[in-house]
């Protein structure tokens, strides 16, 4: 569609306009709340929210250290979780014995609600970055693990037999057949896992920390400062989108071999 971006931006603006109309005290007659300030108290006011964001980034420029901490936590959780998931996924899928032994444990760990581990990680690793990274890793690991496992299991037996006939050693099979075959699965999971790494970092901060965007939101909630909470959420959302776009970029680069739907070009 030609004006896709325009429509998307228009929708965003429309949401903020409606939000503004419904929450600004005295602009519309009350129809839900008795007091015309209550809507603003519960839902925040877009103008003030953007003022808050402006202050964070430009006037006071004090959000950068918090944002940096959150992004470092996210990046570390994402990287460590992905590498661990990839390694374990390949190992367990390629060695049936280990896979069979580990199977019930992997399932048990995956079905456990891992957010409840956050306080335990705080005790183990302290209130710094490490405990948040640990939480993020537990979230990311399983997503990547299951996708790699599936990817290896779904390698075409003919392609595998062909590679063996062409003289591929065990190591070459791993590098040239299993890994590329698994990457398509891994990439579909990376979009989910980069989001979860972010969730891990913010939830970890929210449950106990001295820095990070989650910490800012927690502070603001303590003071019933709904505008700051909303501002924090908006900033987090924007950065989650940026991270996702980054993954998409890498994916397009590495997955050039995959057939895209409807590849003919309209003339």
């Amino acid at each position: 569609m030609k004006y896709l971006r325009l429509w998307q931006a228009g929708l965003l603006v429309a949401v903020f306009v409606v939000w503004h109309l419904l929450t600004t005290p005295g602009l519309l007659p009350n129809f839900m709340f008795e007091n015309d300030r209550q809507a603003a108290f519960f839902f925040g006011e877009p103008v003030r929210i953007f003022g808050r964001i402006w202050a964070w980034f430009v006037v006071n420029a004090d959000i950068y250290q918090h944002l940096w901490v959150t992004l470092v936590e996210t990046a570390l959780a994402f990287a460590i979780g992905t590498v661990l998931g990839l390694g374990f996924g390949l190992w367990l899928a390629l060695s049936p014995m280990a896979g069979a032994i580990a199977d019930p444990y992997i399932k048990a760990l995956n079905s456990m609600p891992r957010v409840i581990l956050a306080p335990i990680f705080a005790v183990w690793f302290g209130l710094g970055i490490a405990s948040k990274v640990a939480l993020g890793v537990t979230l990311v690991f399983f997503i990547v693990f299951f996708n790699v496992y599936q990817g290896v299991k779904e390698v075409s037996p003919v392609v595998l037999a062909n590679a063996r006939m062409l003289g591929a050693s065990q190591r070459q099979l791993l590098r040239h057949v299993y890994l590329p075959s698994a990457t398509s699965w891994v990439f579909s999971s990376l979009h989910t896992s980069v989001g979860l790494a972010f969730v891990g970092a913010v939830v970890g901060e929210y449950l106990g920390s001295s820095r990070g965007v989650g910490y800012l939101i927690l502070q603001a909630e303590g003071a019933f400062d709904i505008n700051t909470v909303m501002a924090g959420i908006l900033v987090l959302t924007a950065f989650a989108l940026l991270l996702d776009a980054g993954v998409g970029r890498i994916e397009r680069r590495l997955m050039r071999w995959q057939p895209a739907a409807g590849e003919t070009e309209k003339l």
Binding site: R164, M165, G167, Q172, P180
Partner: protein, 316 residues
Amino acid sequence: MNAAFGASNARRRRQTRGDAEVARVDARLNSKGSSLLADDLTAFSPDALPSPPALSLAGVTCTFADKADPSRRYTAVRDVTLAVGAGEFVSVVGPTGCGKSTLLNVAAGLLAPSSGTVEVFGTPLAGINRRAGYMFQTDSLMPWRTALQNVAAGLEFRGSDRCEEQAQEWLKRVGLGAFGDRYPHQLSGGMRKRVGLAQTLVLDPDIILMDEPFSALDVQTRQLMENEVLAIWAEKKKAVLFITHDLDEAIAMSDRVVCLSAGPASHPIGEFAIDLARPRDVAEVRATPRFVELHQAIWSVLREEVLAGYRQQLAA
């Protein structure tokens, strides 16, 4: 279990030579039944050749056990004795589901036979057959590699230098010189087959195994490819074991046609020397009287088996 880890059983399952000899004699007796036998059959038998044949299967039996219920067994091929001389083009024809592909996988070393021996140039085969190239029935190119990278793959695995150059040369030879940077999904079925052919032949194997390589192609492309393969074969004179269900194709291309009985437990039931003059054009040779004669003779042996195979599939 993964195919990649199953190759080491070959040695364990190997049988004694004595049994294999008996089986070989058996198979020869079996094949005496047909009317138009290759009269100089012994010339093709491994014992009579001065140098060992490129590929020799002796008394090969393959029995598969059901995974869920090990007591249910299926014997795909039983007591197959088959030799392909160096530089000889041998086709195996048989009704659908008669274990032709099983036989080829055994020759490739991808599958260890339940009993019987496989020898490659006189040496017992253990694991993958390193001297053989295999053209598969279905798409076997690595979809994440371009055509050129696919052709170069074997050279790369074997650690040769000038991989890309040699691969480019072969791509040109199969008429795809300009398509090196395309991914398999961007190529047509016929082009993918050509890439597969180049991928196999660039390694210059002494034995070429082909499993109905052209069955998925349309008639025109198929004849082009058949002629192409014949031209390359005539130039290089490799041993070829060609599996097909198409009798026309088998006669048009081979020196010798081996008929398999209907499965289960299929075995060779006839062997025919094809004395058509070379070089052949697969389309033209079909019109010659000798071709028709051979076709009738082989079909008279094969017809019963095809019907038997069909009845079994209907009953199942």
